[in-house]
Amino acid sequence: MQVWALIVDSFRESIDRKMFWVMVFMSAVVAAAMACISFDDKGVDILFGVWKFEDEVWSLGNSGLKGMVGTVAVKFIADQYLGFFGMIVALITTAGVFPGLMTSGTIDLVLSKPMPRWKLFLGKYLGALVFVFLQAVLFVGLTFLVMGVRWHCWMLGYLGLIPLMVILFSYLYAFTALFGVLTRSALTSLLLTMIAWLFIWTPPMAAGTLSMMREASMSPVRVDGEPVEVGASFEKWERLFRTMSWFVPKTSDIVEIAGQWVEGALISDILLSAGEPESEEERKSFEDGRRMEERAAAVNPWTSIGSSLLCEAVIVFFAMYQFGRRDF
């Protein structure tokens, strides 16, 4: 009941903020913009008939349309709009939660209530996550409907972005909460979170890139006719970054997982509907699809999210400890 009261209060607090409505407004604008585009049998229709582009590729006639929309959804929506811009906006909105809680006059009141400090901390932490969850439901829900109704692309996997974005946010918010407790300043904790984000983004990203480079060079490169094993030199570094990745929340994996959930499902769809490859060309595109799927599958969602949540828990625990022992 107490935690619920804290969550409800966080919600009331957030809808009192302008930022909340700015986010709602932005979601509505993006969804409306997307709704202005539709596909028919011949091509693309923009602004309800104002412009029409006949293009076979971007038409309902193309069985690959769904796949392309899926790619766009992952690349632009999951990776850039939500995964970067949205995260920053959400962090800005919620960075003040702990510094605000810790101002004199506010903290005295809540600490005097029969509630252990860790519970207060968790209530506030969850409150921020609930806020982001609601925003994610709104945005992903709206765009899901738009893509379904207007584009005839119903992609259930796309709804997976809701939990994924909340999880991604929670990775970052652990830092914001920790720095908020330590510095009591919203702005400082926000800046430090950005720096931390850059730091934790590096190892998994580097490991992934190196692994791709290694794979690419697996097929022996010929120097003066002699095959050269380039892959080995990457391996040491890759292993180092891979090990480091175990100790940070893996933010960059989230987009990979989103790719698996959105595109992966679509690719299997396409492959299934295409049937057995007949021509050499078909076989090639089949192989390409396979490889895409495999690359996306290189990230195991459960290991990645599981170990990341573990790292997050450690950070949250430390923040909670700091919050629990300080004077106000």
């Binding site: 009941m1 005097s112 509630m115």
Partner: protein
């Protein structure tokens, strides 16, 4: 009144509370406070004495370096017991997006008050602290300082607490508000609540408190009932017709001083008083009056602060508490 039998009825019994902020500020240096169940206890002290620090420690807002003893029979921070305590901090900041009613509902939830009780008692409570009906559903960002203080008081009472800790409750209130608070405190006492009141305002403490502790530089300088604190600090004023100045040396030898044309004996010693009277009479001067002058709490307060300023040892409550003989003639 043996110490042991009283032990059971202490609402607050803290021993050796010690707290430093960082390396430089030693806010509390082994404070002992004892508050009986059902009394109004006043903690008096100048600004910076450590009053707020002490109540923050009681409410677990600040962690003490050292503490022993109990509140309501349990160690500090016991959750069940915290549930029957109410606290008005020195500074309050309420969420401006909530109405008075919502504020009280929110803090009542945090204090684990049931839905039924919340519905029933919150409107009553607002009336009791003087928030009239038309303010109940107004966002508290629109409230004046005095109204916020009243809301704070209501917040402290929202769980029908046994022990109410108030840190400068009348701060920011006008005279009417102060009177209202005094009446509320009296009412609460009659309901059997224990009240721990922090204040730097003597008059306030003097008017409502049963027992008082005077805190200075992180130490309890005196602790006791109002009469205990004031009765052993008596001075005699001897008014004489005639010029005293030529007697000043002899008066000084006998422990008196001359102030405002009268002899002042700053101790409770009837022998010395009569010695002084004899001296005056032997010079054929007439005694107009000899009156014992009981110190007000203010005098005691100023005396303690003065003694402290002169570098005298500030005594701890245990050594001072009760009592010295009653003043003659009072």
């Amino acid at each position: 009144m043996s110490h042991l039998t009283e032990m059971t009825s202490w609402a607050v019994d803290l021993i050796g509370v010690d707290k430093s902020y960082g390396r430089d500020i030693h806010a509390l240096r082994g404070v002992n406070v004892q508050v009986r169940q059902g009394e109004v206890f006043g903690l008096l002290g100048p600004n910076g004495a450590g009053k707020s620090t002490l109540v923050k420690i009681m409410m677990t807002v600040v962690k003490p370096d050292k503490v022993a003893g109990t509140i309501l029979g349990r160690p500090i921070g016991h959750l069940k017991k915290k549930g029957v305590m109410g606290y008005l901090p020195e500074v309050t900041r309420f969420p401006g997006y909530l109405t008075a009613r919502q504020v009280l509902d929110y803090y009542a939830r945090l204090a684990r008050v049931s839905v039924v009780d919340r519905r029933r008692c919150i409107p009553d409570l607002m009336e009791r602290v003087g928030l009239s009906h038309r303010w109940h559903d107004v966002k508290c960002s629109k409230f004046s300082k005095g109204m916020l203080r009243r809301l704070g008081l209501a917040q402290a009472l929202v769980n029908d607490p046994e022990l109410i800790v108030l840190d400068e409750p009348t701060d920011g209130l006008d005279p009417i508000g102060r009177r209202d608070v005094r009446e509320l405190l009296t009412e609460l006492r009659s309901m059997g609540k224990t009240i721990f009141l922090n204040s730097h305002l003597l008059s306030e403490i003097e008017m409502v408190c049963d027992r008082v502790a005077i805190l200075n530089h992180g130490l309890v300088a005196r602790q006791g009932t109002l009469t205990e604190l004031t009765e052993h600090t008596v001075e005699y004023h001897v008014r004489v017709s005639g010029d005293l100045s030529k007697l000043s040396a002899e008066i000084g030898e006998m422990g008196g001083t001359i102030r405002d044309g009268m002899i002042v004996l700053s101790e409770h010693d009837v022998g010395k008083l009569n010695g002084l009277i004899d001296l005056v009479r032997s010079r054929n001067m007439l005694i107009e009056s000899a009156t014992p002058h009981r110190f007000s709490l203010e005098d005691v307060f100023v005396q303690i602060l003065g003694a402290d300023a002169k570098g005298l040892k500030t005594v701890d409550s245990e050594q001072t508490s009760p009592v010295v003989a009653r003043a003659v003639g009072s």
